[in-house]
């Protein structure tokens, strides 16, 4: 089931290196890259053997890397295009450029593009645009057989790439590393990586300004320890041929040239003496080169063949630089990508459901435990409640009755007014004034009634009317003065109990409003002595605490 796990989580990956006479299988894992086996095209049961080897490798994805002779490249200028038209036009240009090849791809060359733009700045005739590298390979029967093998195993297809294109950054990295070791800046614009692969071909990758300029794969003699010079001579001839090509690509000795040969020093060191072109010549063993670019190769790996170096470099990539598109690849890759997506979604769903289930189960468990605790608490409090009830029952206390009765009694008492309080105060201040009568009234709202929400008990209106009389012989002015003095005395005493007195009727109104009927003479004086003058004082309650 490990094949179903996305390569993101398990970095084990197969690299299928397509060579002219067969295919090499490499497996890249955390421990490094290892060569598994090579399978010849004419080998019986090719697909089954390859599929079986891939399945047994434990890898989750596969990269197909073309290292065959037949690879076609072309640099093309493409006018500046809008984002929406670019893909269609590039595809059309690819079709026109490589009409006979079904597997094609294009990538923009940044350095070339920049140069193209810079050169066109002062030249209105030049078409402004980008410089593209177009590549194509034929869809052969052998490729179909590889796809058939891949279809038998559950591996995600990372892509189908071209070894020289994918290894170009590695050449650049090697050049920089070597320059760093030498203490220089690595200023050469041209670099050539020479390495021999298991198929017997000598791969030369020429890089100019970090971009692929030229690549060649040519047959050379197999390295022979008895005559290492033979291999070196053969390679030097191929290198000379390559250098002769370079001049066509604009190479001049002033540009600087780095030549890196990866292989067994037995064969590579004699080569230096056979190179006459000015260059920085570097010989690296496979292990040195691998360590420079961060690829782990097994200790038992043959030190001369360096196809494992390229495979290890490409296996580490998350995506290929120039993936070739084809129906054969898509027919397998797309369903697997969709399946991977579905599996990821399903896994997330299952994980989510499991998370929710665990969360809910934990909550349910906690709630169940809490219910037990709460029920125990309820039992205890019920017992306490029952004990309290029993205690009160034993005492014969009716709580609502006691509270209600006391409250009602207080409500009534707080409103009721004792008339004797004010009458006693009045009596103390009368002195020799004659009181004929009085009327005490105290009316207001019902204090024992429960008020509705928002209602307020109406204030009690309490007052005492004092009826006084004076002898008819007294002068009204003097009588009025006596009344006024009484009111002053009353107010001094009544103030502390919350009452206030005022004259509501004087003996006689002596102002211009008053009506006067006066008899004079001897008989008249006798009669007036029997008459009486009436006066009235009203004492009102002005404070509730009275």
């Amino acid at each position: 089931m490990s094949t179903l796990i996305p390569s993101l989580f398990s970095p084990t990956r197969c690299v299928l290196l397509i060579m002219d006479d067969g295919v090499g299988l490499f497996v890249s894992s955390r421990r490094g890259i290892s060569f598994v086996d090579a399978y010849h095209w004419r080998e019986s049961g090719f697909e089954e053997k390859l599929a079986d080897a891939m399945e047994r490798s434990g890898a989750t994805s596969v990269v197909i890397l073309n290292d065959a002779v037949e690879q076609h490249y072309r640099k093309e200028k493409v006018p500046a295009l809008s984002y929406f038209d670019k893909a269609n036009i590039i595809q059309r240009r690819l079709n026109v450029t490589f009409p006979n090849f079904s597997m094609r791809a294009a990538t923009v060359l940044m350095a070339g593009t920049k140069a193209l733009r810079e050169s066109s700045l002062g030249d209105k005739e030049t078409v402004k645009g980008d410089l593209y590298l177009f590549a194509a390979v034929p869809s052969t029967d052998v490729f179909a057989r590889i796809m058939k093998a891949i279809a038998h195993v559950d591996l995600q297809i990372v892509g189908y790439g071209l070894l020289p294109v994918e290894s170009t950054p590695m050449v650049d990295a090697l050049v920089k590393k070597i320059a760093q070791k030498r203490g220089g800046s690595g200023g050469a614009r041209w670099s050539i990586l020479i390495s021999q692969h298991r198929g017997g071909g000598l791969r030369q990758i020429v890089v100019r300004n970090s971009e692929l300029a030229l690549t060649r794969v040519t047959p050379v003699v197999e390295p022979d320890p008895d005559s290492p010079g033979a291999w070196s001579a053969d390679v030097s001839q191929e290198l000379q041929a390559t250098l002769s090509y370079l001049s066509r690509f604009g190479y001049s000795p002033e540009d600087g040239l780095d030549i890196i040969v990866v292989g067994d020093p037995t064969y590579t060191e004699p080569l230096e003496a056979m190179i006459f072109a000015p260059c920085n010549y570097s010989v690296l063993t496979l292990r040195e080169a691998a360590s420079y670019v961060g690829v782990n190769v097994p200790k038992n790996e043959d030190g001369h063949y360096s196809d494992i170096l390229h495979a290890g470099w490409v296996a580490r990539k998350l995506a290929l630089s120039l993936p070739l598109a084809s129906r054969e690849i898509d027919s397998v890759k797309r369903p697997r990508q969709v399946a991977l997506g579905i599996m990821l979604l399903c896994s997330l769903g299952v994980a989510g459901v499991a998370g929710v289930a665990v969360d809910e189960a934990m909550k349910l468990y906690r709630a169940t435990v809490n219910i037990d605790v709460a029920q125990q608490q309820k039992k205890k409090i019920d017992m306490i409640y029952a004990e309290e009830l029993q205690r009160k029952e034993r005492m014969g206390i009716d709580i609502p009755l006691i509270k209600g009765a006391l409250q009602i009694s207080r409500d009534i008492s707080s409103v009721a007014v004792d008339p004797l309080v004010v009458l006693e105060a009045v009596a103390r201040e009368l002195q020799d004034i004659r009181l004929d009568g009085f009327e005490f009234t105290s009316v207001g709202g019902e204090p024992a009634e429960t008020l509705k929400s928002g209602e307020v008990l109406s204030q009690r209106n309490t007052q005492v009317k004092l009826l006084l009389s004076f002898a008819g012989s007294i002068k009204p002015k003097e009588g009025n003065e006596e009344i006024d003095k009484l009111v002053v005395r009353l107010n001094e005493r009544l103030d502390e109990i919350g009452y206030k007195a005022e004259v509501t009727k004087v003996l006689q109104d002596l102002t211009f409003k008053g009506v006067v009927d006066s008899d004079v003479g001897i008989t008249a004086n006798r009669r007036s002595a029997q008459d009486r003058y009436d006066a009235e004082i009203t004492v009102k309650r002005v404070k509730v605490n009275g």
Binding site: L4, D154, M343, V356, I402, A405, S409, P419, G437, F440
Partner: protein
Amino acid sequence: MVRGLSNKVVLFILFLLLIGGGGGYLVYEYLIPERERTDRELAAIKAEVDARYLEVAKMKEEFILLQSQLREFKNLEARGFFNDQNRSEAIDNFSKLSSRVGLLKANLNYASGNIIANQQAEDAKQMVIKSHGKVEIESLDDVDVYTLLKFMQERYPGSIDITNVKLERVETLNAAMLRQIGSGKPVPLVKGSFEFDWRTMTSRDAVAPESGGN
């Protein structure tokens, strides 16, 4: 089964779908409702416990409070606050008080009583009764009237709320009046009246008071 995919992959996807779907169904159909039901049950029990705690706390508080209120309640009870305002007893009580004062004449009249709406009384399965009373008085001295008023407020069963007092001097004490009194014919020097509201509490089962007087 599907082009480009092995049966193993397809079966694994189906397995994941089955696990996810089945698990989801179980979670949302059984686990979550069960958890919600348990939460509701827990909340209900907690609410019951909290309510019972409050009740017990209230009872304890009331109990402490009642210890101090009990004496006050007993006094209230002794003063006859719990009274069904039976008119016969009311007249007897008034008669006893007025006879101690020594009035020339006192006439008591009660109007029909009313039940006052009071929630606290209802909670205690009681009711508050109010009767309006009026006393007509004839006396030799106004002090007797005041004494009766004091007795009514302090000794009459229940709560007496004086709402009106009228008093007037009808005669002046002179030699002729003294001779008349001395001859055994009492002459009222003061006449008056007072009105009051009589409030008591009684059980709901008590008979409604009726109008009456002497």
